[in-house]
């Protein structure tokens, strides 16, 4: 009987030779870039938020029907937009990660998801706060609010799954499957909740803003939306840097 010895592997060269943007696909390179970009996005978010809040609370005129309470849309609507947009972004990263086996994509999905969940909670909270003085009830089972609630469950399901699985590969790919299943479901859920709403109650209590919006109101909402977008990017960059450090520490055990 001969004994087979284990052969030491020749170390595979790290990803080299990529040009331009594609270099950023390597986690360590992205880590450095994110560190430099983070303060800019954070600053941008602060500036836009101050501007948006100023326009929303000081400049925009008082609404004839709702009085001062309506001003909460300057937080509610951007938060709702961002909650849906971030889910699409996370699902996009999930799809890229599954299709191209990039190491960074599942980390980006994990980085943006908590912020998306936060915005969903803010949208629900401000929606309830708006509903109480306007329609007399904390929760009116409006189609949009109900869809936001289900979106929150989708986020929590994804976050719960990736944190419950120890194996990084299974967590990444399993989480990606959940996100993609969710993104396919989101239009179906939205449509079915709309259907359900019109079926069961005649009065359309919609929490979207009044039909004719003053230009200042629109400007205020847009500024706040951009502020939320910049904030999301800043927070996601910070989070993904931590995730990259964790993963690289695991990968270092090879050498």
């Amino acid at each position: 009987m001969d004994t087979l010895q284990r052969v030491d592997a020749t170390a595979a060269p790290r990803g080299t030779g990529r040009r331009g943007w594609r270099r950023l696909a390597a986690p360590l390179v992205f880590h450095a870039w994110a560190g430099r970009a983070l303060p800019w996005f954070a600053g941008l978010a602060a500036v836009l938020a101050v501007a948006g809040l100023y326009v929303g609370f000081a400049v925009a005129p008082t609404d004839r029907q709702q009085g001062e309470v309506y001003r909460i849309i300057f937080i509610h609507v951007p938060a709702a937009w961002m909650s849906m947009f971030i889910y699409l972004v996370a699902a996009g990263h999930a799809a890229i990660g599954l299709a191209f086996h990039t190491r960074l994509s599942p980390l980006m999905a994990r980085a943006v998801a908590p912020t998306g969940a936060l915005f969903t909670v803010i949208a629900l909270w401000t929606g309830a706060a708006w509903g109480k003085p306007t329609w007399g009830a904390w929760w009116v089972w409006d189609a949009r609010l109900t869809s936001e609630l289900i979106l929150l469950f989708l986020y929590l399901g994804y976050l719960g799954l990736v944190s419950a699985i120890d194996d990084p590969r299974r967590a990444d790919r399993g989480g990606a499957i959940v996100l993609l299943a969710g993104v396919v479901n989101v239009p179906i859920i939205y449509f079915s909740v709309q259907w359900w709403n019109t079926l069961h109650q005649g009065a359309s209590v919609s929490l979207t803003a009044a039909p004719a919006m003053a230009h200042t109101m629109l400007a205020g909402m847009l500024l706040m939306a951009l502020a939320c977008w910049a904030y999301s990017i800043a927070v996601a960059l910070a989070r993904v840097r931590c995730l990259i450090v964790e993963r690289e520490a695991l990968a270092r055990q090879w050498s």
Binding site: D2, T3, L4, A9, Q253, W254
Partner: protein, 208 residues
């Protein structure tokens, strides 16, 4: 090499932790590879890499010269894998379990052959007993019966002798010798050497 199984610079990661790296070996038809090593050295993980349940973190597995990816149909059609768990449901009888496993994987379901193999592994009297009534050694023999009846070229067996008595050990060694004499390949993890008679046996030590 163009025939048989070969592994090139295999690296394995379980739950984010590296188990082994840089593993290479070849197994030609008619050879038995006995994998030895301490607990936790990655013997079971190696078998899972070879049969395609676990994707390798580094390196590749080749079957008859062509690289094999997880879920690869070519290897699935020619390999039989016996894990720690026997793959049999406790509520079903020996016969029912065998019939299901062979229908699923494709194999010899002829009643006469099934009876003959069971007889050889001292399970002839247990054919209609539910599997949860069998002892651990008997369940191991049942798993071995499935491997025998599946008529596959490559056997990947994880601790096949666990719980077997001396009679069972001898029966297994004989089955193994016959398998490689027919040109089959076997990769077997084990804690003690299996006497395979004149069959060409190589040892792979995971601790180095």
């Amino acid at each position: 090499m163009t025939q048989g199984l070969s592994a090139r610079a295999l690296g394995c990661v379980r739950a984010g932790r590296p188990v082994f790296s840089g593993l290479s070996f070849d197994a030609a038809p008619g050879e038995v590879v006995q994998v030895r090593g301490a607990n936790g050295s990655g013997k079971s993980s190696l078998l899972r890499l070879l049969c395609g349940l676990l994707p390798p973190a580094r390196g590749s597995v080749h079957w008859h010269g062509r690289p094999v990816a997880p879920g690869n149909a070519a290897l699935a059609a020619e390999a039989a894998y016996m894990a720690h768990a026997s793959g049999m449901h406790g509520e079903l009888s020996v016969n029912e379990n065998l019939r299901f496993a062979l229908q699923l994987a494709g194999g010899d379901t002829t009643a006469a052959h099934v009876a003959e193999v069971l007889q050889r592994l001292q399970l002839g009297a247990q054919q209609h007993r539910p599997v949860h009534r069998l002892s651990q050694g008997q369940q191991r023999r049942l798993a071995l019966a499935r491997v025998l009846l599946s008529r596959r070229t490559l056997w990947l067996l994880d601790e096949p002798c666990a719980g077997l008595d001396t009679q069972g050990d001898a029966a297994f060694a004989q089955c193994l010798a016959e398998h490689v004499a027919r040109g089959g390949i076997a990769v077997v993890t084990t804690h003690h050497a299996i006497d395979t008679g004149t069959a060409c046996t190589r040892t792979l030590d995971m601790d180095q």
